[in-house]
């Protein structure tokens, strides 16, 4: 099946800093999504982005499908951005495969 690698595994930032999270995948995809799991465990869908660029407030994402990677940008980070960020992909008719996540801690 498709392989998903996320980097870095852990990230510590000061409030106000910017960050870039990366998701590499091993095959062409027809679905790629980014999620944020907050410290209370709730998973929030951030982006559906199999290709191209999208922005939502301080967050933006870019997927370069031909080079098999996606980037999630967080600008002016806030303590509420803390948690785990997951990338999930699928190809063909398979179900979504999740990466291992990037754990982000934003300190005040």
């Amino acid at each position: 099946g498709i392989q998903v690698e996320q980097s870095p595994p852990d990230l510590i930032l000061q409030e106000g800093a910017n960050s870039t999270l990366r998701c590499n995948f091993s095959d062409s995809v027809n679905n790629l999504q980014w999620f944020h799991q907050n410290p209370w465990g709730q998973l929030i869908n951030l982006f559906y982005i199999p290709s191209g660029t999208k922005q939502n407030g301080r967050l933006s994402a870019t997927t370069v499908a031909t080079e098999r990677y996606s980037l999630l940008y967080i600008s002016s980070s806030q303590t509420t951005d803390s948690g785990v960020y997951f990338c999930a992909v699928n190809s063909g008719y398979s179900t979504l495969t999740f990466g291992k996540g990037t754990m982000l801690l934003v300190s005040p």
Binding site: G41, N45, F86, A88, T95
Partner: protein, 112 residues
């Protein structure tokens, strides 16, 4: 988006017993899924809950251990049967709507 109600939110169970988790969606959806998230780990798909037919299980998960019901397009249950401490995890219901995956708040299960 989709609003998903999942209950119970947490439970502590004795080994050998079973627990049924309920998932209610605020609109009809074709695709419903059950995931497991072990402590500090990523999400692993248990099965796809199919309306009107048997669930489709992923490798490593079997119907006898994780029976699933899907009586209609807004509701599903997952039962964790004959529990052992290794079943201690978060169990998550999710739905696919307009290509996006949405999750319930999860069930934190601890087995003693």
């Amino acid at each position: 988006s989709a609003v998903i109600s999942q209950k119970p939110s947490r439970d502590i169970c004795q080994r050998g017993t079973s627990l049924t988790i309920q998932c209610q969606v605020d609109s009809q959806v074709t695709m419903m899924f059950w995931y497991r998230q072990q402590p500090g780990q990523s999400l692993t798909l248990i099965a796809t809950a199919n309306q009107g037919s048997e669930a489709t299980y992923e490798s490593g998960f079997v119907i006898d251990k994780f029976p699933i019901s899907r009586p209609n397009l807004t509701f599903s249950t997952l039962t964790v049967s004959n529990m052992s401490p290794e079943d201690s995890s978060i169990y998550l219901c999710s739905v696919l709507k307009l290509e996006k995956l949405f999750f319930g708040s999860g069930t934190q299960l601890s087995v003693l």
